[in-house]
Amino acid sequence: MFEKFRKKSPWILHYNAGSCNGCDIEILASLAPKYDLERFGIINTGNPKQSDILLVTGPVTLKSRERLVELYSQMPEPKVVVAIGVCTCTGGVFRKMYNVKAGVDRYVPVDVYVPGCASSPDQIIDGVVQALAILEEKSKDIEKPKRLFGELTNNSIFTNRREMAKKIKHEKN
């Protein structure tokens, strides 16, 4: 039952990893009456443990990379990452600067890339609708009886950071 609700009403988490605020205010504008992303049952939360879609804006700066990875690892499976704006996709104008690496996918896997500088609300809606389809696919994938098909591996999913650190240490030994 919970899966059904999740599909119908995904919650989004928004993190600004060093963007120029342009994409952030466009996300706000797409939640506001004219474009109203809440028609899709979406609500903006501040809590990573309850959200399904992570909207990232900005080229990831060295200081915010740790927060980003932490937020990503705190989110429950299945999760979808949407990169909004050109500087999030590839680095944009900030690509060659010393405090920035090119794009978010150097740190977390990205599912949907939304272009635009700054991405306008209709592009954001397009991207989120795309993300919903991927979320559905992913949750179906998780529900598969993997033990039966022999697909279950040890290092598939981490629910939190501590577990990840433990496992990686274990593998090193």
Binding site: Y15, N21, R67, G92, M97, C117
Partner: protein, 361 residues
Amino acid sequence: MKKTINIPYGSQHIALLEPVRFQFETQNEKIVGVKADIGYVHRGIEKACTSTFEYKQIPSVVARVCGLCAITHSLTYVMAVEQIIDVNVSEKAKYLRMLMVELDRIHSHMLCLSHTAENAGYEALFMQIMADREIIMDIQEAISGNRVQFDFVCIGGVNRDITDEIVKFIIKSLNELQPKIEDIFDMFENNWSLSLKYKGIGAITKENASIYNALGPLARAAGLETDVRAESDYYPYEKIGYKMILEQTGDIYGRNRVRLREILSSIDMIKNILCDIPEGNIIEKVKGKPNGESVARLEAPRGEIFYYLKGVKQAMLDRVRTKTPTFSGIPAMVEIFKGQEYGDVPAILASFDPCMSCTAK
């Protein structure tokens, strides 16, 4: 001695638009000490301006310092460059630049007001202001072709001309907007539950404002007369009916009032600008390479933007220094937090209208 508790706030928080981390030291509910960590958005734009980009490319690069005051960043940079290489901009281009700056000011102030309302727990007002803000966004889109990043200014003038159609559209939209702003003004003024959350909270005195070098609406709400529009001759602001807006209270309520009155006066100014746009070229040819030092200042929505340039007769500049309003506003912000209740922090922070991507560059 009483014990104190440290509460971190940020860098990811539902009430924050952008990453900044505050460390509040609280005694019961009262804040006694604040530490601000502002480096989350540092990208290294000053370095890139002197090593990767040529001086003609920089207007569209510095516009990406901040999306909310994009036009003021590129405009201040362009003003500084024009001083070094001796370009005289036509009157028409100056008027078009002023028009865009004032539009930007309206949309930034409205965003701040809606954010303050949301953080005081008034979601419906947030939605209402955001809906009205779309009118301004449509105007900006019609003029410059994009909603947020305009790329409207270039060295020697502006990139696009406005047509009679757009002028008519702007006047129609502004006439539509004015009663809506007056409605919102009424709401901020007379709503009892909002006044509980705004009046007397987060106040700063005029003396403290000038000791800690506050800027923009933060200073004008405390009665400190600082506004670059009145302090420079570069743009004919007096001709189009500019008045300095001052309040004496210095609290959140005063800041909101300054912003709302500035929106109304900006609307009047835009109408005056549109009435008497002079004829002329919109762009002048630019030749030569920058050599020498120059400074330029401009009033952004949050206060004074300052650029220092140094060129050494090369296509790349030697030094670009950006000073943004929030950067010099942070000491005053930290000062205001002391002695306030922890529960008021989101509303106070939103009323500063902090812009961290400006601060850290």
